[in-house]
Amino acid sequence: MSDGPEKQFDLSQRRLTTRQGIDTEELTGRTFPYQFDPGLVEGIDLQASTPGDDLNWLEDIHLMEEDGIPAVFDRYTNAFLKIHFDIPSGREDEFARKVLIKHLQEGNSYGIWLKHQHAKFPQPELGPWLTESATVGENWTPPTVERWDKSFTF
C-alpha cells in the first residue's frame, strides 16, 4: 500500500522528456523490482484478484511493446509499464497481467497515486485489487494556481 503522497515517489528524480508515449518509469522517476524479477509475480492469483468467475477486466490486458521492449498498459496511468525479464513462451499475457496486478496492488500506479491530490470525493485509495485500502479524497479543496491573480489582465 502507498506510503502517502510525499513518500511514494520522489518526483525530483524523474526526467520528463517531450516525446510522446511517456511510460511509467518516466512519470515516476523510478523502476520497480517486479519489472525485472519474474519470481516476484509468479505466485499472484489472477482469478482471486478480479471480480466474477473468470479474469474479468484482465481479459483485455495483453502483452504489448513500448520502445521495442515488452510492456503492459496501465489504464489507470495511461502509460506503459515495461517488463525487463525474459517471459516464458506461451505465457506472455499471463505475465503481463501478473506484473500489472502487482503494480496496482503495491500502490505504484502513478495515476492512482494522483488521487492523493486530486480525488474530489472520499474513495478507496486503491481499487478493487486490494481490500482494506486507505481512503482518499475526504478533504479536497479547489486547486489554486500559484501567483494567479484574477484581477490580472493580459
Binding site: 510522446q20 508515449g21 466474477g52 481479459e59 483485455d60 498498459f73 478493487p128 481490500t131 479543496t141
Partner: protein
C-alpha cells in the same frame, strides 16, 4: 468543507450544488441498513438517489460490508454508481437510467429492468440484469461483464473499449456503434446498422442480423471464440444458440498506417 457555488437558478428549487457539481452536498448517509453477519439490507423507497448511494458507500467503504441487498429501488436513476471496491449488491427491482455506472469492482445483480446506459463506463466488475435494458447499454464500457437476460434497445456498447456484453434476447439498431475493443455476445436477433464504424472488437450473434453497418464484416469463428462463448454463457447459465456468427471491423476506414502513440492509448 468544500466551497459552494454562487447561488444559481437551481437554488430556487431547493437543490444546491457545490463547486464539484455535487448535488445535495450536505447530505449524509441515512444509516438505515440492517447489518447481520456481513450482509446488509435496506429499503430505498423513501430515499433520494443521493441518499441511496451514500448508504451504499457507507456500507462498502466504511463498514466493510461485502453483501448488500437494496429493496424497493423504485426505478430511480443513477443508483449504485462509482463504487470502487469488490462487493456484491442485489437490487431487488428496476432501475432508471445510468444504473450501476462507473463501477470498478462491484458485482451487481438487478432483478428487474433498467433504463438507458446501464453500466456505462464500467471499469471492472459484473452487472447482471434479469429482464430488459434500454438504449446505450454498456456505453463506453472499459472492462468487466455486463449481462442482460432479456432484450436491449439501440446502440448497445456504443464506444465500448473493453469488457464483454452478453444479451440473452434481441438487440436494437446500431449495436456496437463505434466499438473500439471488447466483445458482445447476442443470443437473439440484431437490428440494422450493427457494428457501424466499429474500430476493433468482436460481435457474436446467435440470431439474424437485419443489416450490417459501415465497415462491419463477418469472420470465421476460431476455437478461442468457441471457448469464450462456452465460458461466458456457462458462467451466467444462459442457453447457447446452436450456431453463432462473428462480426468484426473490416478496417476499410482506418486512416492511420501506424497509430500515433497518443491515439493508440485512446483505444487501449
Amino acid at each position: 468543507m468544500v466551497a459552494m457555488n454562487p447561488p444559481t437558478e437551481q437554488d430556487t428549487r431547493g437543490v444546491r450544488n457545490d463547486i464539484r457539481g455535487l448535488a445535495e452536498p450536505d447530505a449524509e448517509a441515512p444509516k438505515v441498513a440492517r447489518i447481520e453477519g456481513g450482509t446488509a439490507t435496506f429499503d430505498a423507497a423513501d430515499l433520494s438517489p443521493r441518499l441511496v448511494n451514500l448508504e451504499l458507500r457507507r456500507l462498502v467503504y466504511g463498514e466493510g460490508v461485502r453483501e448488500i441487498r437494496v429493496e424497493n429501488p423504485g426505478a430511480k436513476h443513477s443508483i449504485a454508481v462509482g463504487l470502487l471496491a469488490r462487493c456484491r449488491i442485489t437490487i431487488n427491482g428496476s432501475l432508471g437510467y445510468f444504473g450501476a455506472t462507473l463501477g470498478d469492482g462491484p458485482e451487481i445483480h438487478i432483478t428487474g429492468r433498467v433504463g438507458w446506459s446501464v453500466a456505462e463506463n464500467m471499469m471492472s466488475g459484473v452487472v447482471v440484469i434479469d429482464k430488459n435494458a434500454g438504449s446505450l447499454t454498456g456505453a463506453a464500457m472499459r472492462g468487466g461483464d455486463l449481462v442482460v437476460r432479456g432484450h436491449v434497445g439501440a446502440r448497445t456498447g456504443i464506444d465500448q473499449k473493453g469488457g464483454t456484453i452478453i444479451i440473452g434476447g434481441n438487440a436494437g439498431s446500431m449495436t456496437g456503434f463505434m466499438m473500439q475493443r471488447g466483445r458482445q455476445i447476442i443470443c437473439g436477433d440484431v437490428g440494422p446498422g450493427m457494428g457501424d464504424s466499429m474500430y476493433d472488437g468482436a460481435i457474436y450473434v446467435g440470431g439474424t442480423v437485419a443489416a450490417l453497418g459501415v465497415d462491419c464484416v463477418e469472420e470465421e469463428l476460431t476455437p478461442d471464440d468457441e471457448e469464450l462463448l462456452d465460458r461466458k454463457l456457462g458462467i451466467y447459465r444462459m442457453d447457447r444458440p446452436d450456431t453463432f456468427r462473428k462480426f468484426v471491423c473490416g478496417k476499410q476506414l482506418y486512416n492511420y498506417d501506424n497509430l500515433e502513440p497518443s491515439e493508440r492509448k485512446l483505444v487501449l
